[in-house]
């Protein structure tokens, strides 16, 4: 019994380590003005070299761990966003990038907009800015990874 428990703990630690060191991201534009997308592309350029952290842009939602979502969710994009999210295998995380993804921003109240991203799918990290700088986006990913680390999570009692 005891051995099984330690074994599981070790396995968990290995899994967390692997997850922390290889976040593969997929980028989805659910109706942004393209400002945020340009910043995400800038993040992926050699200047910021996110391969250092193991971050890799994947084309297929099946390969990705982190969905980076930009812009407000339009009526048209809503179903697509849901589909992309549901195609990702567990465990999966979502980062909402830009003011629009957080609150609807400049597009709030438009006739063709559903609203912000977390009205449609659960969001783990918000990166504010219009658009946020590449450093902020990288920081968002790092914050997300920090949330995964058991040591850095607040003890369960405090939450309750």
């Amino acid at each position: 019994m005891d051995f099984g428990k330690t074994w599981n703990e070790v396995l968990d630690r290995v899994k967390t380590w692997a997850r922390l060191n290889s976040p593969w991201v997929i980028h989805f534009n659910s109706g942004s003005c393209n400002g945020c997308d340009i910043e995400i592309l800038a993040t992926l350029t050699p200047r910021y070299d996110v391969e250092r952290f193991g971050i890799k842009l994947q084309g297929s939602p099946r390969h990705a761990d982190v969905l980076i979502c930009t812009g407000p969710v339009t009526l048209q994009a809503r179903d697509r966003l849901l589909r992309v999210y549901e195609q990702m295998p567990e465990p999966k995380f979502v980062i909402a990038v830009g003011s629009c993804a957080i609150s609807g921003g400049a597009f709030q109240g438009c006739y063709n907009v559903v609203g912000h991203v977390d009205e449609v799918i659960p969001v783990d990290v918000y990166v504010p800015g219009c658009p946020p700088r590449p450093e902020a986006i990288i920081d968002g990913v790092v914050k997300l990874l920090g949330k995964l680390q058991p040591a850095k999570q607040p003890p369960q009692e405090e939450i309750v």
Partner: protein, 307 residues
């Protein structure tokens, strides 16, 4: 004892785990070299290991409308094929674990299993990107396979044997790379085609067709396909240095020769952009095959004159 020894050879060293670990190190070296050539910092040394463990720990989605059994077994068959082929090679400067006359052909065909399985895996799913990827994978397979095999058989013809250890003995005494320079270049480029490295990565062009034939794979299946590719990198480099770079005699020899080849591969990857699939087919059939056949002619003539 014999059973244990065989199992050890098959699963741990020099087959199985050793090839995989070695493959991961070389994959990292390749990515790091490309990154340095592009003026980046590049990934950390454990990156392929972390990617692999993460993929193994992820959920595996088996999509509807695929043949589930095929979907699950294809990556296993692909990996097993490459690892079996690696048993006939002088991995890490050791004698091949197994050998018989004609093992070169068997090994080269076992290395094609990976590409073939990738193609079938793409065709198995009902996803349009996978289908396009599978078509491209198989088209590319048919275009580079013939010249690659011919280029690998060049030293075999010169040595007069189809056994890997005999050819290696021949290449240790003859400067094969000077006698058959065309064959060397074509084998090297063919290896890049096999590994779907940059100028030949049309089958998985992520800007056009998401991730090619492997679009629908997640978790374990994807990890096994990646492992197959790492093992194939090792196998290809070993085969090339054994045939063209004067054979592999000890561990240092192995490391130096394979790393020199890897540096060449990284250089080409950095310099070139992706070729279209029709350009790839044209390149191989119009130039590659003809040049290699010419090389054969020269080799045979030389051999006839010397004998």
């Amino acid at each position: 004892m014999d059973v244990l020894k065989t199992l050890f050879i098959l699963l741990i060293f020099p087959g199985g785990l050793f090839v995989l670990a070695n493959g991961m190190v070389y994959e990292w070296a390749d990515r790091k070299l490309v990154a340095r050539l592009q003026n980046r910092v590049g990934p950390r040394w454990f990156q392929p290991l972390a990617d692999l463990l993460k993929l193994l720990a992820k959920e595996e989605v088996v999509p509807e409308s695929v043949n589930a059994r095929l979907f699950v077994w294809l990556p296993i068959v692909a990996l097993a094929g490459v690892l079996t082929g690696a048993l006939y090679l002088p991995i890490a400067g050791l004698q091949p674990s197994y050998s018989f006359s004609g093992d070169l052909i068997v090994a080269v065909y076992l290395f094609s299993m990976l590409t073939l399985c990738t193609g079938i895996a793409g065709a198995n799913t009902n996803n349009r990107f996978s289908l396009v990827g599978a078509t491209r994978t198989l088209t590319q397979l048919f275009s580079y396979e013939a010249p690659f095999l011919l280029a690998m058989l060049g030293p075999a013809v010169a040595a007069g044997s189809w056994k890997i250890s005999d050819i290696m003995a021949y290449s240790s005494t003859h400067p094969v790379i000077l006698l058959q320079p065309v064959g060397f270049v074509i084998a090297l480029i063919g290896l890049m085609g096999k590994l779907e490295m940059r100028p030949f990565d049309a089958p998985e062009a992520e800007t056009e067709i998401v991730a090619g034939a492997l679009t629908e794979y997640s978790g374990r299946g994807l990890a096994l396909f990646y492992l197959g590719r790492y093992a194939e990198l090792i196998a290809g480099l070993t085969l090339m240095s054994a045939f063209y770079l004067g054979g592999i005699h000890n561990q240092l020899d192995y490391i130096v020769k394979t790393l020199v080849l890897l540096l060449a591969l990284a250089g080409v990857q950095t310099l070139m952009t992706r070729l279209r699939i029709d350009q790839i087919v044209g390149l191989w059939w119009r130039y590659g095959t003809l040049l290699v056949l010419l090389q054969w002619l020269v080799t045979l003539l030389l051999k006839g004159m010397v004998l």
